[in-house]
Structure formats: structure tokens, C-alpha cells
């Protein structure tokens, strides 16, 4: 598995497909923190939404970095499609982890906040970024070539799914009228609600742990559906 991960990493680096999403994210971070001071949780919340979309872009390029014909050969060598896809998910999650750490530490390093961030702010900031990255990876993977054959549908599918996930936040009151529906929809709104609690909060309510856990659980369930689909195909 480590051999495949190393191969995918080097192959992805050599395709240069990471350049557009990575550049855009870095430019966003620099521009977002140009003017100081900034609120801590609100800024983190905004950058986590941007990372949510950027990770959709990263996921598609990582899953499609290998030539389609080469993918057949690689699968013949690894002899296990599940392991192959698992490595791609690991690669995406590692990318999300690195970008989450960067998003949290960059404003601290340049002293872009009005208040000095406490460990609680840093933890919430990291969880917000990483949980939304994980969710974006899971949702975007559903539109990769293993499941969606048409490349155009891949990009439209990912973009519309991520936008709808975000739009649910504003439509929550309407959605709540249909019992149980909210549990089926991507829980981006949970992260945004938690990050809206204000910088003055000195402790993290127990509910927040459950809400972050649900975002991860939801993502794992979607990844499970991905594996189910690929097994059928």
C-alpha cells in the first residue's frame, strides 16, 4: 500500500494538476488576511468554506491524475480495486490535513487576529477545516470516473453538490419541516453554526464534539457508498 501511495504522490506532483487549486487557495489566504485585525472563528469559518470547495477540486484531480489506461495496469499490479481507491482517499485526506494545518497556522503566524487565539480557537479552527475537507473529499469522490463516466458530469456534479451543501445552511428552517430530511443532507451547516458562536467563548460545548463527529461519520458513510458503487461496477 505504501508503494502505491508513493507512486500516486509522485505521479500527481509530475502532472502539475495541483497548481491551480493550490495557487488559488494560497492567494485566497493571503488576500483574506491582508487587512487586520480579523475575528478568529469567523475567519476560520470562511477559510474552511473555501477549503471545502478547493478540496473538491483536489479530489477530482487526484482521482483522475493517472491515465485511464495506466489505471488498468496499476490495478493489475495491486490486484485489489478497494485498496487502490483507499490509497487515493488517504492521499486526499493527507492533502486536506496539510491544507487545514496551513489555514489555521498562517493567520496566527502573521498575527492577523484581533485577539490572541486560545487553544480552543485553534482546535475549533482545525476541526472546522479538516471536517469540511473530509466531507468535500467524500462528496466529490462520488463523481469520479469510477462512477460517473462523463467528464462534464463530474465537474457539474461536484460543483452543484458542494454549492447545495452550503445552501442548506440558509434553507435549514424549510428543510426542518420535513422530518428526518436534515440527517440525509451534507452537514456543512453544523460547522458554520458552531463557528458562529463568537470568539469570547472560553469552553467548547459537549454538543460541538458530537456535531464534528457527525460530519466525519457522514463523510465515512458517503465513502462507504462510493465503495459500494465501485464494487457493483
Amino acid at each position: 500500500m505504501s508503494g502505491l501511495l508513493r507512486y500516486q504522490f509522485i505521479n500527481y506532483l509530475r502532472t502539475y494538476r495541483y497548481v491551480p487549486p493550490f495557487s488559488i487557495f494560497i492567494i485566497f489566504l493571503v488576500v483574506n488576511y491582508t487587512f487586520t485585525p480579523n475575528p478568529i472563528l469567523d475567519s476560520y469559518s470562511f477559510s474552511s468554506i473555501v477549503l471545502f470547495f478547493i478540496m473538491g477540486w483536489f479530489t477530482i484531480t487526484i482521482f483522475h491524475s493517472e491515465d485511464e489506461d495506466q489505471k488498468i495496469i496499476t490495478l493489475l499490479h495491486i490486484k485489489n480495486r478497494k485498496e487502490y481507491n483507499l490509497v487515493l482517499f488517504m492521499f486526499c485526506v493527507l492533502t486536506g490535513l496539510c491544507l487545514s494545518c496551513l489555514s489555521v497556522t498562517y493567520p496566527i503566524l502573521i498575527d492577523a487576529f484581533g485577539l490572541k487565539p486560545k487553544p480552543l480557537h485553534i482546535m475549533m479552527g482545525f476541526l472546522s477545516h479538516f471536517s469540511l475537507s473530509f466531507l468535500a473529499i467524500a462528496l466529490s469522490a462520488i463523481f469520479t470516473r469510477d462512477i460517473v463516466k462523463n467528464k462534464q458530469n463530474t465537474w457539474w456534479g461536484v460543483l452543484s453538490t458542494l454549492i447545495i451543501s452550503l445552501a442548506i445552511t440558509t434553507l435549514k428552517s424549510v428543510i426542518l419541516q420535513i422530518k428526518g430530511l436534515i440527517w440525509l443532507l451534507p452537514p456543512v451547516y453544523l460547522s458554520l453554526e458552531m463557528m458562529d458562536s463568537g470568539d469570547e467563548n472560553l469552553s467548547m460545548p459537549g454538543l460541538f464534539y458530537w456535531q464534528f463527529t457527525w460530519i466525519f461519520m457522514y463523510s465515512i458513510l458517503v465513502i462507504g457508498i462510493f465503495f459500494l458503487f465501485t464494487k457493483r461496477k
Binding site: 502505491l4 507512486y7 505521479n11 509530475r14 491515465d67 496499476t74 499490479h77
Partner: protein, 292 residues
């Protein structure tokens, strides 16, 4: 001869259409088997079933060697590979689970026999189609394989690259590798294949027409002066066509027996005839290629 694989009663349908129906044959050690047939006749599907890439709807593949290793070379060569052959083979070997001290000598050996030592540091994306195809075969041979499967190995290659790859395949044949391949190319079938299976109407039949290369007759075309008589040679050939090239020269096409060929050529040269073409006739071969 040792049987390595028995293919028994294989049937495969695709989108409700029968591709292969109740197919049975055996593959033997150190033999090169060619699968021929029209486009869409099921050659690639059968190779994928043998390679374990596609499951048959019914039937069984019995492998008589355990563990049985298969090297597979797909029909389409990847258009972009961002590695040098050395890096690429190293990565594929690692993905297979091979250890470095086992892998490096094998890569050196493969680069050597495939004549790619000089290109080991060049990116595969800069290679010609023929060189890319060689790398594809090399990745299939990273481990000692019991059976090498090649799906249309010469497809899309120019004549020079085809000839080069044919030499490589002959080398692998000489090394005793068991190979099954699908192809259309005459030279490959005649020079390399020990056995030819023809897929037609979802069935596989062994075809020995092409392997029987005994020639009985030749087709001869020559130019000869109109004044020159060659009636004395008439008992030895059958005139197919006589046409006038200009006011002084006739073009004559005849069919001659194999054993008379040298004698007639000599006689015609004595009569100042100009030999334009001498071609062996193999009706069996012509019939074979007319099938697809």
C-alpha cells in the same frame, strides 16, 4: 507437452448479446498461441477472461500451476506516463509487493533484453509507440510469469516498430515463455505462433492453414521480346495472362510448379527475358485472410 491452462465451456454475454459461447481449449507450456478473428469477435474479452480481468458468465479456467502468475499487456498503451522506464518499472514492482533487491536486477535484465538500456533515464512520454509498447511488455514480465497475455501487441505501430517488436517476441518465445496473443499481422502469425485459434460466430476453432507453409506453386511475371519464342517452356507452366507492354515487349504471367521454378527462370534469362515478380502461391493462406 505440459498443459498449463484448460479453458472449459466459457460463455460470455455483454448487454444481452452473446460474445463467446461454450468455448473450450487448452494452453500448453512454451507455446505461442494466436487468437484471430474479426473486430468485435470477442478476442479481447477472451484474453481478459483468461487473465482474470473479466468473469465469464459460465465455464471455468483451470490453472495447472500454483501459484499461477499472468502478465497482461492491454491493447491500448497509456498516452502519458510521467516516469522513466526504470522509475516506472520500479513503482509497478513495488505496487506488486516486490522487494528492492529482487526488483533492481530484474529491471536491469528487462532493460537489457528489450534494448532500452540507453533510454532508461528518458521519460516514457517522450518514447515512440513501439518503445512504449516494449515498456508495457516489460511491466508484464516484472515477475517470472507462467503466461504472458498480449492484446493486439502490434496495433498502431509503424512497420519498423512492428518488425522490432516481432524480434522481441521471438526472443521471448526462444526463452520458453508461454504466450497467448490476439493479432491480425501476417508475419507475427507465421513466424511466432505455434497454434492459431480463429474466433468466428462466438466459437473458437483451431486453424492450421496458415501454419502449413508448404508452397507447391509460384506465380511468375516476366517481360520478353515479341520475337522470342518460349513454346519449349509451355509444358512447364500455365499461362494466366499475356499482354503487350509496347511494340517490342510482351508481359507474361504464368503459374509454375515449385520444382520447375529454377529451371524455367534459367531458361527465361537465357532468352533475355526480364523477371519482374516471383511470388509463392498459398491458397490456404489467402483463404485464411479472406475470413476477416
Amino acid at each position: 507437452m505440459k498443459t498449463i491452462v484448460d479453458i472449459k465451456n466459457i460463455t460470455k454475454q455483454y448487454k444481452g448479446k452473446t460474445i463467446l459461447e461454450d468455448i473450450s481449449f487448452s494452453l500448453f507450456a512454451h507455446q505461442v498461441v494466436a487468437l484471430v478473428g474479426k473486430n468485435g469477435s470477442g478476442k479481447s474479452t477472451l484474453l481478459k477472461i483468461i487473465g482474470g480481468l473479466v468473469n465469464p458468465d459460465s465455464g471455468t479456467i483451470y490453472k495447472h500451476i500454483h501459484p499461477f502468475t499472468i502478465g497482461y499487456v492491454p491493447e491500448v498503451t497509456p498516452s502519458t506516463i510521467m516516469f522513466t522506464p526504470e522509475e516506472y518499472l520500479f513503482h509497478m514492482g513495488c505496487i506488486r509487493g516486490m522487494v528492492k533487491n529482487q526488483l533492481q536486477p530484474r529491471i536491469d535484465y528487462l532493460l537489457d533484453i528489450f534494448n532500452l538500456q540507453g533510454s532508461r533515464k528518458t521519460r516514457i512520454s517522450d518514447f515512440s509507440k513501439g518503445m512504449k509498447q516494449k515498456v508495457m511488455i516489460m511491466q508484464a514480465l516484472l515477475e517470472e510469469t507462467n503466461l504472458l497475455i498480449l492484446d493486439e501487441p502490434l496495433s498502431g505501430l509503424d512497420p519498423k516498430a512492428q518488425s522490432n517488436l516481432e524480434d522481441t517476441l521471438l526472443l521471448l518465445k526462444d526463452k520458453g515463455l508461454s504466450i497467448i496473443l490476439s493479432c491480425h499481422e501476417t508475419k507475427l502469425l507465421e513466424n511466432i505462433a505455434d497454434k492459431i485459434f480463429f474466433i468466428n460466430n462466438h466459437q473458437v476453432n483451431q486453424n492450421n492453414l496458415l501454419l502449413n507453409t508448404t508452397q507447391h506453386r509460384n506465380r511468375l511475371t516476366f517481360e520478353i521480346s515479341i520475337q522470342e519464342s518460349f513454346e519449349d517452356l509451355h509444358p512447364y507452366f500455365e499461362i494466366v495472362q499475356t499482354s503487350q507492354l509496347n511494340q517490342r515487349v510482351n508481359v507474361v504471367k504464368v503459374i509454375i510448379k515449385l520444382e520447375d521454378t529454377d529451371k524455367i527462370l534459367l531458361e527465361l534469362l537465357h532468352k533475355n527475358a526480364s523477371i519482374k515478380q516471383l511470388q509463392p502461391i498459398n491458397h490456404a493462406k489467402e483463404d485464411f485472410y479472406n475470413q476477416f
